[in-house]
């Protein structure tokens, strides 16, 4: 099967809305966060950054939002090169949801917290409230007057996402969205991310090391190792390349392992990316 894997990120498509162009960043203690990182985001798609802890995923996504500035290279967001002067404009376009939801929720009530972003954008209190109500409705969070401190882990994650959504970004960047959640909350988050792409036209970038989730969600997969993207392509190509994944310290998704181990691979058979796609093939 012809591989559609680019082992180094290839030429930029013309419709890229974010282009990270050979960016390097070294931390003050000398550790290299990212090195010659090349990465793109395209409209209305979900791209996953897959890599183990310390690969450089979080460093990369903090660059996209302007929280970190590159030492070398440049980052273009909607045609603008990110620099200190336009960082507020960038943050209106690129929303970042951190891995630790507790670090994001610091207001006394859920509604206040979700309104924080829109108010900082300059919206009036009424407009900010409407945006917050909309965002909380999108994520299905009804307890808007609760104190965030007393929410469950899943609810905190939903409120954190709503807080960014209320800023109406064009790109949503999420770091480990389901890391410490139970299966039902994790599924809820996945459904929300999918609906953001499908119903709201928002491009989503997800940093994760859960390959099963990458298989279910991604339109494009990028493998990150040692501070660089070492491969990118369609999930049915990347996630079935066991050698590639292992070289990056990752495992094949369960679906891919089962499909391969059961010897179901053959010409004309589309590689499944979820159990729902795999089950009919097994039954056949």
């Amino acid at each position: 099967m012809e591989s559609d894997i680019h082992h180094l990120a290839g030429a930029e498509r013309e419709d890229a809305i974010v282009h990270v162009d050979c960016v390097s960043h070294r931390y003050p203690d000398g550790t290299e966060g990212i090195h010659n990182m090349c990465f793109s985001v395209y409209p209305k798609g979900i791209v996953t950054l897959c890599g183990p802890n310390g690969a450089g995923k979080s460093t990369l996504i903090e660059h996209i939002n302007g929280l970190m500035m590159p030492d070398k290279g440049r980052i273009r967001v909607f045609g603008m090169d990110i620099d200190k002067k336009n960082v507020s404009a960038i943050r209106k376009l690129v929303g970042l949801v951190f891995q630790d939801a507790d670090s994001q929720l610091f207001s006394p009530t859920v509604m206040d917290d979700v309104m924080f972003g829109p108010l900082n954008l300059g919206l009036s209190v009424e407009e900010a409230r409407k945006r917050a109500e909309w965002a909380l409705d999108v994520v299905g969070m009804k307890e808007t007057n609760k104190i965030p401190h007393y929410l469950s882990g899943g609810q905190k994650r939903l409120v954190a996402i709503a807080g960014i959504l209320a800023m109406k970004p064009q790109i949503l960047v999420v770091d480990e969205p389901t890391g410490d959640l139970d299966p039902s909350n994790a599924k809820r988050i996945e459904d929300i991310l999918r609906s953001l792409r499908d119903e709201h036209g928002i491009s989503v970038v997800i940093a994760l090391h859960d390959m099963d989730m990458a298989a279910r969600l991604a339109d494009r997969v990028c493998i990150v190792r040692g501070g660089s993207v070492i491969a990118e392509g369609k999930p049915e190509d990347i996630l079935y390349d066991e050698k590639l994944l292992q070289s990056a310290g990752l495992e094949m998704p369960m679906v891919a392992k089962l499909f391969t181990d059961l010897g179901l691979e053959s010409k004309g058979v589309k590689r499944p990316l979820s159990l729902e796609q795999l089950t009919p093939l097994i039954k056949k």
């Binding site: 931390y27 003050p28 203690d29 000398g30 550790t31 966060g33 970190m68």
Partner: protein, 220 residues
């Protein structure tokens, strides 16, 4: 009433200087978050009763001075005093006097630590111990002076008698200050191993805004 206004005025003056040194009200988000966390941790740490000598509560103000510097530390102790007054530890009318005393602790904690560490080249535990002990001893004497000058409300004792009583309390506070010095020394040693950048030593690990960190540490 007169002395409440005097001590509040002096404290307000010193806080204004601290605010000015923080860049006339402009403070980076990082410094704001760190100062606020310091207040919250200092306040929470007060709730810990160390089960020695019948139960000891700590000030941690010299430690705060070492961590965030005297200017930001002064703002932190003022905030802690407001929270403390709200819950009954210290009175609202004593915020001015308490803040003055705590500012002495923060100020001396910072400078004594720097002096001991950089110029006398004493190791971390003893620098922390020395800084806290010096700061808390001087502040205990400052408290004696403040209360002796303004006297206890409702008391008919002479100033000399008030001062004598306060000196007894000061001696008790100085002894507790020595204990807190030991605790501070252990904390500084611990921080030196885990996050030396927090006490202004060596490069930090993976922290954005090193320039901010240096500002916070060397907040003169």
């Amino acid at each position: 009433m007169f002395w409440v206004l005097v001590w509040s005025g002096v404290a307000a003056g010193l806080v204004s200087i601290a605010l000015y040194r923080q860049g006339r009200g402009q403070i980076s988000t990082r410094k704001l978050a760190i100062a606020s966390m310091c207040v919250a941790v200092g306040f929470a740490a007060f709730q810990i009763e160390i089960p020695v000598f019948g139960g000891v509560h700590l000030n941690l103000t010299p430690l705060m001075g070492i961590l965030v510097g005297p200017a930001l530390g002064s703002l932190c102790v003022l905030t802690i005093n407001v929270f403390s007054a709200a819950i009954g530890h210290g009175g609202w009318s004593m915020i001015g006097a308490n803040t003055l005393v705590n500012m002495v602790e923060v100020f001396l904690g910072f400078y004594a630590y720097r002096f001991l560490r950089r110029y006398v080249k004493v190791e971390r535990f003893y620098s922390g111990f020395g800084a806290a002990a010096i700061a808390l001893t001087v502040s205990a004497l400052v408290a004696v002076a403040i209360v002796s000058i303004s006297e206890i409300q409702g008391s008919t004792q002479t100033r000399a008698q008030t001062m004598a009583n306060m000196l007894v309390l000061a001696i008790a506070n100085i002894v507790m200050g020595l204990f807190e010095g030991v605790v501070t020394g252990y904390i500084i040693s611990f921080l030196g191993k885990v996050r030396p950048d927090l006490i202004g030593e060596s490069a930090p690990a993976r922290i954005e805004g090193l320039e901010d960190r240096k500002e916070v540490a060397a907040d003169v």
